[in-house]
Symmetry: C3
Subunit: 266 residues, 3 copies
């Protein structure tokens, strides 16, 4: 099924508009191109309405946030919702400062289709949304610690929530799917999380909202699989990044069918 | 002749000021360094007058455009014109939104020496300049479809216009030169078009305005040739990008003399 | 001693907040990650107070300066000083324009722990600080030409000053330490100077202010050593950059102990 998803996304070549942090732009655009999508980094509020209208999906990332960019992100999120286009939120470093946390909550309230973060970001969003406390702690590195928070967020905001980690967990509030692809050294490449979020947007572009849990899992698994292939040829984080992009571009049916590790985990 | 051009540019080591999109900055600066020029990314309007005065050429790129950056671009373009320094315009995604299209028209009116875009961008600029319609369509991927538009733009704005594609076409409104270097996978590397535009500026820095058609063709050919050499060692878009930069740095007389494919095409 | 420093920094995994230019962000963040630190690119003035409070060190870089970013840099530098956290200044292109030079002087006055620049930047800061003229000239590429200026700056601003070049010189105004690691081709990689400045901040995070001269020398030596190892596997500037990051990640005790070239030079 992951292979069909990839083939479908490559065929559609969706235009993914990214309003993202400065650190991630190069790697994110190259990830989208290698996978078969078309990136467009455009953030000026003066063209948001028109640009979201021609995009197939939207990726919003809070990395190097500022009030000016936040205004564009909010306009874009609202516009995407209005036009019924999928949009994905990456709440980078939510919880680190009050500015950042409340910005992410404002964005959440605009109705993203999918949210992807690490355990501590998801826990921070949950707490800031006044959801019931869960057993997780801020410093949690294990997605399972944030699963309760992810489910509550998914229910409250009617979206899919993905928690990244050694094993990624994806939930719509009811179902939980786990993705076991990837390698630890991905943590040593800046913006690898940001890039997979953009890839999630590319897959969300070619599936209806009811299947965004699957779309999200496919993107996480394929990026992780490309990382595994890359790792077998890498001698450190920079060569891993290069090999990952090359592997993403070269993924074929046999590799995808035998390599993807997605399972229902409720 | 391309070899003499490269040797001349390397000797001069021109300082190329780039006011460019965030996605392209890393690849563009490394392209200029590898080729033998010196990049300077500086955009604050507070230092435009002084910075353009010390630069040998200017590269303006509309990629991640905003009103603030547009103001700097206009100030820089006007200043370059005043000081008779060459400047090159890359109208990224002209035609996608009205903000972007009219910004590019405003920049065109300030008198760039050279404009480089893909077929659909050149067609969009032509239409927005109220030039007679040509047979090309917006979705055109073939530069020859935009040649009429390119000639009209070149005449109206007294500049050289380059249309990138499988075969690049460069015109001053009368002459047409074609460049056949390059490989299809360059399309899978973000900002490869932006980077070649910066390289055009580096070559324009060492030639008088009457020879900017040739300067532009040299840059397109040498970047494409580096892509061909890179492709022979690459296994995907990320290794192509790495190998292209290494090849650009290592270009020697024998390789350039036998590899460059420029021909008069009018 | 350099090995102990690296082991100590890796153990501490310091959070280095970078307010830096757009060109450098990707390479800088990957340098910090590969070396064992944690990068955080965050610049909005709305979160400066909170962010500096959670960071272990701060890196401020004037590359793509604008008045808005300068305001954030000044707030961050002042906050770091207030909280007694180390911060490092990279005065990119100081001397090129009056806006840039006076911005760097304003930042210097806020009390950085360490300043790193090339010879011409250090000479420009010295002149703009009304320090006695030294024999160096603006176009100097040799750090020794700027040593007098570096000593004067270090005394006046009570900081460590590092002058990068073929042999780096580091001074606190009295002592002078020289670092002989590195390869010439590092000059052909954009933001390699910016990245080593961020690495200096990571080492400053784990040493008290009295040992910042040593911390600075360790960072310069280890980055240069990674460049030497990388160069042995590189075929141009792009492969050097990749190999440098991989080598930085893989540095072990034997390599560091035998490869680091630091000596007292006063």
């Amino acid at each position: 099924m992951a292979w069909e998803a990839l083939a479908k996304m490559r065929d559609a070549n969706p235009l993914v508009q990214c309003i993202t942090n400065f650190v991630s732009m190069d790697f994110m655009a190259n990830t989208l191109l290698a996978a078969g999508a078309s990136p467009a980094m455009a953030h000026a509020i003066d063209e948001i309405d028109e640009f979201v209208a021609i995009a197939d999906a939207l990726c919003i990332n809070a990395g190097t946030l500022s009030p000016e960019w936040l205004a564009s992100m909010k306009a874009a999120g609202a516009r995407a919702r209005q036009l019924n286009k999928p949009w994905v939120l990456d709440p980078v470093a939510a919880g680190a400062t009050s500015f950042r946390t409340s910005a992410c909550i404002e964005l959440l309230a605009l109705g993203p289709s999918i949210v992807r973060g690490n355990a501590s970001e998801i826990l921070a969003l949950s707490r800031a949304s006044n959801l019931p406390p869960t057993k997780g702690v801020d410093s949690a590195h294990d997605p399972s610690q944030a699963l309760g928070a992810a489910k509550s967020l998914a229910e409250k905001y009617h979206c899919v929530v993905a928690v990244s980690g050694a094993v990624d967990l994806v939930t719509d509030g009811t179902r939980v799917v786990s993705v076991s692809n990837g390698v630890p050294m991905l943590q040593k490449i800046t913006a690898s999380g940001c890039s997979v979020t953009a890839l999630i947007a590319a897959f969300a572009a070619v599936y209806p909202r009811e299947q965004h849990l699957e779309a999200c899992a496919f993107a996480l698994a394929l990026f992780g699989l490309a990382g595994e292939i890359g790792m077998s040829k890498a001698s450190g984080p920079a060569s891993l990044r290069l090999q990952l992009i090359d592997a993403l571009h070269g993924l074929d049916q046999a590799t995808v069918s035998s390599g993807v590790k997605i399972s229902e985990a409720s």
